[in-house]
Symmetry: C2
Subunit: 125 residues, 2 copies
């Protein structure tokens, strides 16, 4: 959560975790993995409560790590679409396992199962 993007990380997990551990990040991944490629505005609406600043920060980071791609369409008004890359899909596979583990520990209160992976977001004030 320090890690200002250019830090040299001692090892791979270090680097990956530095990305994933940011607030909203998992939530964003989850939205993209369930909704498919999504435009900026829609994303902001779906990840309800996030500020534009943080959303763009997270997207840039995830893009740098090639976990998601950014497609810019120079129409007027411009359209920008974000979606998971191959890496992003791989990642979600592992995250799903993490989710399965978590579910088995904190035995699920029935129907919340559908919203499984990555609903990680800060508690609403």
């Amino acid at each position: 959560m320090a890690h200002s993007s250019k830090d040299s990380h001692p090892c791979p997990v270090s680097r990956l975790m530095a990305v994933l551990s940011g607030p909203w990040t998992m939530y964003i991944l989850w939205v993209l993995s369930t909704q498919g490629a999504t435009r900026f505005g829609a994303l902001k609406r779906l990840v309800e409560g996030i500020s534009t600043k943080v959303l763009t920060e997270r997207l840039r980071l995830l893009e740098q790590e090639e976990i998601l791609y950014r497609h810019y369409e120079p129409t007027v008004p411009p359209q920008v679409t974000y979606g998971l890359t191959a890496r992003g899909l791989e990642l979600c596979t592992v995250l799903d396992q993490l989710n399965a583990l978590a579910e088995s520990w904190y035995s699920i209160s029935s129907k919340s199962q559908a919203i499984a992976l990555g609903c990680y977001k800060p508690p609403s004030p």
Copy 2:
């Protein structure tokens, strides 16, 4: 990183990530998984640079989630030992997969492979 221990999390991963994403946490897990059960002082020495405050905070959290156990021996001076629980070991299995993924992405600079899992720590100032 908000999440002051009593927050009700919307879903399992949310809760698990809130624990794992804290700075030093993965590093602590990595040390315990490689060194085995370790005493407080030794842990503080191994996780070099961490403050006692944060170390105890993280240990308490991980203990609450039953990812590690705390064994108190009332000798003089007292001895406290921390080690991974069954859950902790399960968790490390999945984290290892995350590590494998990260390694395949950021292709490893040869010999740093040994320090694989969880070397996640803030960059030294």
